[in-house]
């Protein structure tokens, strides 16, 4: 959804010439995370302290796998957006800021991928399906 006035967009006004979609994306990831993380926390409370085999079986359930993957992807999108704001506020050396932002984004990709792979591994090795 575009919020920028077409003329302003054409002129590229505003110091960053860009930002509306970041703002909206952050709201979307926040809204999505609210139910996802609440659900994850409730599930974690129930599975806490159980033996390893049970935790593996729990994570391998189709609905849990779906929930965990959705939660992890949305979480790292949200984290990247949030950390981006922190870096923007505190790092002002241009090359350092750019590098940090890129590293943060890459790290979020790596972590999200690791989470997904772990969940899929559990899904395919533990599931009866």
């Amino acid at each position: 959804m575009e919020y920028m006035d077409p003329l302003a967009k054409a002129r590229g006004t505003g110091s960053a010439h860009y930002g509306g979609s970041h703002w909206w994306g952050q709201r979307l990831s926040s809204v999505a995370l609210f139910p996802l993380l609440l659900w994850v926390v409730i599930e974690l409370i129930q599975i806490a302290g159980h033996p390893v085999a049970e935790v593996r079986a729990w994570a391998a359930q189709p609905t849990m796998s779906l929930l965990l993957i959705l939660a992890i992807v949305t979480l790292f999108i949200h984290i990247q957006q949030g950390i981006q704001m922190v870096v923007e506020d505190y790092v002002h050396t241009p090359w350092l800021e750019q590098t940090t932002q890129i590293l943060v984004r890459f790290s979020c990709w790596v972590l999200a991928a690791a989470g997904i792979i772990a969940i899929l591994k559990l899904l395919f090795s533990e599931s009866q399906l």
Partner: protein
């Protein structure tokens, strides 16, 4: 003002926790032995305190996040609403953290 910086601090703390969560999942999937050791670490006093802090960070960040979304649609921007909202967020976060840990520690 303090709540504002707390929103940022809890966000960063949660991000660190998210790394731990991925690590937990990775160990669960690929290194069950190490997973058990990791859980034993979490079961120590220090581990439990960290988890408790992380729980509060989560509920605070969530509650204050809702408050932010509320502001985004233009509601509650007068001084009185801001104060009430701030207190509500702290109370909600504390209560949710308390309930969560009561359940965890008593096995209800």
């Amino acid at each position: 003002m303090a709540l504002s910086i707390l929103h940022r601090l809890t966000g960063v703390a949660l991000a660190v926790g998210a790394v731990g969560f991925v690590l937990w999942l990775w160990l669960l999937a690929f290194m069950p032995g190490a997973f058990v050791s990791f859980n034993e670490l979490l079961a120590t006093i220090v581990g439990q305190l960290m988890l408790c802090g992380w729980t509060f960070a989560l509920f605070y960040h969530m509650a204050n996040g809702v408050r932010h979304l509320w502001w985004d649609v233009g509601r509650g921007l007068d001084n009185r609403a801001i104060t009430i909202g701030g207190v509500t967020v702290i109370v909600v976060a504390t209560v949710f953290t308390g309930v969560t840990w009561f359940i965890l520690l008593t096995g209800v």
